[in-house]
């Protein structure tokens, strides 16, 4: 890999790795759960049918894994920490935001009425050079906690900036 890119990655790592973003508070409502499931085409009664869900061990409907509710105030664009990191990539010559993938670990079911607090941290920054150019990868780890202070889930998202 070119020394320029190596140096840039080192600089970004020094600056950003370990940075923790502002936590986001999300409210979980059954209406938005159903709308989410409908958009996927997912008719699982665990998230759609209150009568069915009541008879299961969950006792009430749960979120499909991967849905964490809605922030009370949300606007288009990436969340603060991710936006900051991708903005830095763009300024360094690696613009754009490509979704590189996601990892989830699910611990506790989420129910309508829960309040989920998500807190993100930049966990890694690295680069790859291929035939079509170089890319910088940023990894954001998010911990999702409910109103009882229990960690309901964790995620690890990879975002990619491609060399202009």
């Amino acid at each position: 890999m070119s020394n320029d890119i190596k140096a840039k990655v080192e600089e970004l790592k020094q600056k950003y790795i370990g940075t923790i973003g502002e936590p986001t508070v999300m409210e979980v409502e059954w209406g938005s759960i159903k709308r989410f499931a409908q958009a996927v085409g997912d008719q699982n009664p665990l998230w759609n049918d209150a009568e069915f869900a009541r008879k299961t061990e969950y006792g009430q409907v749960i979120c499909p894994p991967g849905f964490f509710g809605w922030a009370a105030k949300s606007k288009p664009g990436l969340s603060g920490l991710t936006a900051k990191m991708m903005g830095e990539f763009a300024v360094s010559g690696f613009p754009g935001v490509l979704d590189g993938g996601m990892e989830y670990e699910f611990n506790i079911p989420i129910h309508p009425g829960d309040i989920i607090i998500s807190s993100g941290k930049i966990a890694d920054i690295y680069a790859k050079e291929g035939r079509t150019g170089a890319s910088i990868f940023g990894v954001v780890e998010i911990t999702y906690t409910n109103q009882n202070g229990d960690v309901v889930a964790k995620s690890r998202a990879t975002l990619i900036g491609r060399q202009a």
Partner: protein
């Protein structure tokens, strides 16, 4: 749901196939997903944006493809199964169908969400099943690759 029968630990054999899930995407569905998920990136609904020009048109949200794969697993494991771990990476872009009219799509891609069991094991008294999962398009190209770990109940 594709399969409403409960899946049990005893039903699992390494290499067994997860029941396939068929999906299409239309521009209308992407709008619906954008609203339901909060992802308002114009790359997924605006043919005029430079973001779309770079990929030859509007592309399907990675997160929607991810949620198809989540559904692949949750459809299979039944209400007593638990999805414990999940991961996916996007290897190729996928394009939605345009709409012929208010309700019907034009022709276009159909995707298969598929998977198979790679490992079945017990750890600290919990029965885990690991799977490889993926999405393939009409030509068999795998556009999304992933893995999942589930916990299944034992037959009573």
């Amino acid at each position: 749901m594709a399969n409403s029968k409960q899946l049990y630990w005893e039903d699992i054999a390494v290499e067994m196939e997860i029941p396939q899930l068929t999906k299409i995407a239309t521009t209308q569905m992407l709008v619906q997903w954008a609203g339901a998920s909060g992802d308002l990136n114009p790359h997924h609904y605006d043919a005029g944006t430079p973001l779309a020009a770079a990929t030859g048109g509007i592309i399907v949200h990675g997160a929607l493809k991810r949620q198809w794969l989540v559904q692949l697993m949750t459809d299979w494991i039944g209400s007593k199964g638990i999805l414990k771990k999940f991961s996916c990476q996007y290897r190729a872009i996928d394009k939605p169908r345009s709409m012929k009219d208010f309700t019907d799509p034009l022709d276009g891609e159909t995707w298969l969400c598929r998977g198979n069991v790679t490992k079945k094991y017990e750890e600290d008294g919990i029965c885990y099943t690991d799977c490889n999962i993926w999405i393939e398009n009409g030509t068999g190209q795998k556009t999304t690759l992933g893995s999942a770990t589930v916990i299944l109940p034992a037959k009573e």
